[in-house]
């Protein structure tokens, strides 16, 4: 497939936004049970939600560049019964709304304690909103992943690993950003976030490498035999019907030389996983903001490459019909 930059930015940016929210909420959850110190609602959760929202909005904006008719984008909510894309279009704004609500409740301190659990743990309004938002965040990961995983003949994508990878990679980058953010605020949660970021990055590395191994060994079900329905072991294309390209040759081939294709794989394997983990580990225990910010920047650039590779690696069966110009 031809990697579209709009979709690369959409999926990576909302992944960061979702991950950052999940980081903030994890922090809050741990502070309720008094495992980690309580952070300031106003500056930490309020501003943190705003940053998450900014990433989500940037992702949403990027998605419009993918559309031929962005002004009709609202129509995309119509077929949520059958289309994962439609579901994503509904869930993304819903998630943004909930993050806004979560941030506002924290920022303006409209956060009454609803009830006290076992007379120790105070469950306030933001905790309830956050729980709901967390569910929606995971729904959004599911929708984004399933858009690709549900196309069964794109065999590189049609695996549960696609959804798992979107979830883990998004979460890992969000937690890395949360670490940089916490370090900037001199928050006591810095190491807590950094630990989670390392854990999630390593988990994502396992599942992403698993999907790469799977894709390397994939056996494509379609062949030129089934494509034109002639049972012969030796079929070659002599003409694709036109000389200078069409939608079929532009949309479904990545067009990069094999050397570039391979080096992008190694680039993201280094920049998404080991480098951020090393930087996060170095920064733990009172590190500077810069080292965490660098970890996030490197990981995000790596994720762009990862997403490029994700698209480029998918082999569409229609390509069988476009092997030779003529």
């Amino acid at each position: 497939m031809h990697p579209a930059f709009s979709v690369i930015f959409l999926t990576t940016l909302i992944g960061v936004g979702q991950g950052l929210f999940l980081a903030l909420y994890t922090g809050q959850l741990y502070s309720v049970v008094e495992v980690v110190p309580v952070e300031d609602s106003h500056t930490h959760y309020g501003i943190g939600s705003l940053i998450a929202l900014a990433f989500l909005a940037a992702g949403l904006l990027a998605s419009f560049f993918h559309l031929g008719h962005p002004e009709r984008g609202w129509r995309a909510i119509a077929r949520w019964r059958t289309s994962w894309l439609s579901r994503e279009v509904i869930v993304l704004p819903a998630f943004m709304g909930l993050v806004t609500l979560y941030g506002l409740v924290h920022y303006f301190d409209l956060n009454p304690v609803l009830f006290t659990f076992r007379e120790t743990f105070r469950v306030d309004l933001s905790l309830v909103i956050g729980a709901l938002t967390t569910v929606v965040a995971f729904l959004l990961f599911l929708c984004t992943g399933m858009i690709y995983a549900c196309i069964k003949f794109l065999q590189e994508w049609a695996t549960p690993l696609t959804v798992v990878n979107y979830t883990l990679l998004g979460s890992a980058s969000g937690f890395t950003l949360a670490t940089a953010f916490a370090a900037y605020q001199h928050s006591q949660l810095t190491d807590f976030y950094a630990g989670w970021a390392v854990l999630l990055t390593l988990a994502a590395m396992v599942t992403r490498v698993a999907s790469l191994i799977r894709n390397k060994r994939i056996k494509h079900k379609s062949s030129l035999r089934t494509a034109i329905g002639i049972r012969h072991s030796r079929i070659t294309q002599k003409s694709q019907g036109f000389m200078t390209g069409s939608f079929n040759t532009r949309e479904f081939f990545h067009g990069a030389p094999q050397a570039v294709f391979k080096s992008i794989k190694w680039f993201f394997l280094v920049t998404v996983f080991p480098l951020p983990v090393i930087l996060l580990a170095l920064g733990m225990g009172g590190g500077a903001v810069l080292i965490f910010a660098l970890a996030f920047a490197i990981q995000y650039v790596g994720l762009l490459a990862d997403r490029w590779f994700f698209f480029a690696q998918a082999n569409h069966p229609q390509n069988l019909y476009y092997q030779t110009v003529g």
Binding site: G73, V89, A227, E251, G326
Partner: protein, 243 residues
Amino acid sequence: MTQLALVIDLNVCVGCHACVTSCKEWNTSGSAGYLSDMNPFSHDPTGTFFNRVQTFEVGEFPNTETVHFPKSCLHCEDPPCVPVCPTGASYKRDEDGIVLVDYDKCIGCKYCSWACPYGVRELDEHQKVMKKCTLCVDRIYDHSLPENERKPACVMACPTNARLFGDVDDPDSEVAEAIRERGGYQLMPEWGTRPANHYLPRSKTRITIHEDELTRVDNPLKKERQLPMPDKDAPTLDDVTSW
């Protein structure tokens, strides 16, 4: 149920591209808007087409066979492109099974083209909506045309009658009969899309001759033996010359 479809006879397709040009001509002049071209008269011309003819070579020289292969939307009975459309712009008509795109609803997200294993949907570069074969839906029901012209433009154009059009669900139709009796098959059956369009395989008329039928080993009637020379005094053909 009605399922209109094309049946393409690979046995007689000569790869002349008449269906391609006729399709383009009809559909670029249609009420739904033109099929746009980019740089039609300069470097790297490209454009939107509903139908293409490709050529494949089967076998290894000298035992090769050239197969011309027309490819357009197969109007699947279980079209994978339809459920993925987020707006409902892509739909399959209940009354005749034609898969169509509502150009006013399409947002140009290209997701349906990803979800089609055959690569028969194209984004129009000017109108920015997804386009595909309509089976000339604006022709086949047009009562201002004579009845024998209410067929898709490609079918009308084919000089070798390689394209048959009709209702594949009607067992008595020409197309259903052709599929049944001449081994009509579907493309990429592995994905369960159940294409309505079928292809008729190439077939050869063969005669089986055994070696012993070519040279007569025994000749009981002595049919081809060399005749003995007649007697000197036997009458000759013209009674003048003698042996």
